[in-house]
């Protein structure tokens, strides 16, 4: 039979083992999160960069937003449910940061004006006539497209950037927590406004 000091020693050893195991588990979890974070960021860097361009024109602010999104992904990572899609999870976090950024201030106006003047100068050099969207070179088209997207309403910006990334209605609905029908409605409107802005007709 064990005496009281042996019992105390045994329970102290058990406690130390539990603490040690917990600490090892925490370390493993942290290393695991690090690996997952690096994997996700590597896989979805392009998607995130493209989404950011649809909301902010200034390169310095784009970098800042990218870091903010990374920070939020890192924070939210332990709460990720395995049954959810990583792509929609990452896109949802990005859209949270970007929507807040857009609502915060009209920071893109000046940068967009700058791009506008660059494009106009380029166009004047290319042709004296009014240049249709298709006649621009790819870089100019990309700039014109992202500029036009930034001029849309926030709700339209959200659906159009995700749709341009090739996401389905269902995926967009998951990212934005809205119904697929509403995605269709908003996308149709966004496309109509975009075509006017780009003068693709």
């Amino acid at each position: 039979m064990l005496n009281s000091s042996q019992l105390i020693n045994a329970s102290a050893t058990d406690y130390l083992n539990v603490v040690k195991r917990k600490s090892v588990d925490e370390k493993d979890k942290c290393l695991n999160h690090r690996a997952i974070f690096i994997e996700w960021m590597t896989q979805y860097e392009k998607l995130l960069r493209h989404l950011i361009v649809g909301f902010e024109a200034k390169p310095a602010l784009q970098d800042e937003l990218f870091q903010d999104i990374a920070l939020n992904i890192w924070r939210a990572l332990p709460k990720f449910r395995q049954d959810a899609s990583v792509k929609t999870f990452v896109a949802r976090i990005a859209h949270n940061v970007l929507a807040t950024h857009v609502a915060k201030a009209v920071k893109t106006v000046k940068a967009d004006q700058d791009i506008d003047s660059i494009l106009n100068t380029d166009n004047e050099q290319a042709s004296s006539e009014v240049t249709p969207y298709q006649a621009l070179n790819q870089q100019q088209r990309q700039q014109r497209l992202s500029q036009a997207i930034r001029q849309l309403k926030l709700e339209q910006q959200q659906v159009i950037t995700l749709a341009l990334e090739g996401m389905s209605y269902q995926e967009i609905a998951e990212v934005l927590s809205i119904t697929s029908n509403l995605v269709g409605v908003r996308l149709q409107r966004a496309k109509a406004t975009l075509s006017q802005l780009l003068e693709v007709k």
Binding site: H50, Q67, A70, R92, K104
Partner: protein
């Protein structure tokens, strides 16, 4: 709201079938342009380290505040026990400890609220951000009020010390007042900026 939006949209779509077809034709070209956009690749490992440093930095700031408050408490207790400080210094320490505790408590309250918000569901992100902005404004107001309190506390302390020690303290008085003026002006600048941003965000929410 959704129904209204859906109904209005149906009208838009019904009225412009040709435009819709045209859009579908252009859509592929737009998607290709969008997806082939160049971007500057970042070193993800560097980004990871930067991200962790940012989180650590925020936690360290709070820890530093806590350590400073604890140090002041210890210093005050030593002052009372050893009886080596004059009354003015002791009063100043008590004032400092009380304000510091209030400041820390309020900071933890505000920060914990903000951190809890960042973990919420993103369904209503603008409303969440508005709450965040309001708490940020509260924090700025707290800094301003603390600075005003410090202004009176420090000036009274320095004047009393001047009477006791009969040493000229004009240099210290000037330096501390300039420092507090800078703190107050900085806080005020951020308050105005945040208020403007909040007003803009609230307009967004109404839309």
């Amino acid at each position: 709201m959704i129904d209204k939006e859906t109904t209005e949209s149906s009208k838009v779509i019904d009225n412009q079938p040709e435009e819709s077809e045209l859009l579908d034709e252009q859509w592929l070209a737009l998607t290709e342009d969008w997806q082939s956009q160049p971007y500057d690749k970042v070193d993800i490992k560097v980004l990871f380290n930067k991200t962790r440093r940012r989180i650590l930095g925020a936690k360290c700031l709070l820890a530093l505040d806590l350590v400073a408050t604890l140090a002041m408490i210890v210093f005050m207790i030593i002052g009372f026990i050893s009886d080596s400080f004059d009354m003015a210094t002791l009063y100043f320490l008590v004032f400092g400890v009380v304000s510091s505790i209030v400041y820390i408590a309020y900071t933890i309250y505000i920060r914990s609220g903000t951190w809890a918000l960042s973990e919420q569901s993103p369904t209503d992100v603008i409303s969440t951000a508005i709450v965040g902005y309001k708490s940020s404004l509260k924090f700025i107001r707290l800094i301003k009020v603390s600075t005003i309190g410090m202004f009176f506390g420090t000036n009274i302390y320095l004047v009393v010390m001047n009477q006791v020690h009969e040493k000229p303290i004009i240099g210290a008085l000037l330096l501390i007042n300039i420092l507090m003026a800078v703190m107050y002006t900085g806080a005020h600048y951020y308050q105005v900026k945040r208020q403007e941003e909040l007003a803009h965000m609230q307009q967004f929410e109404i839309k």
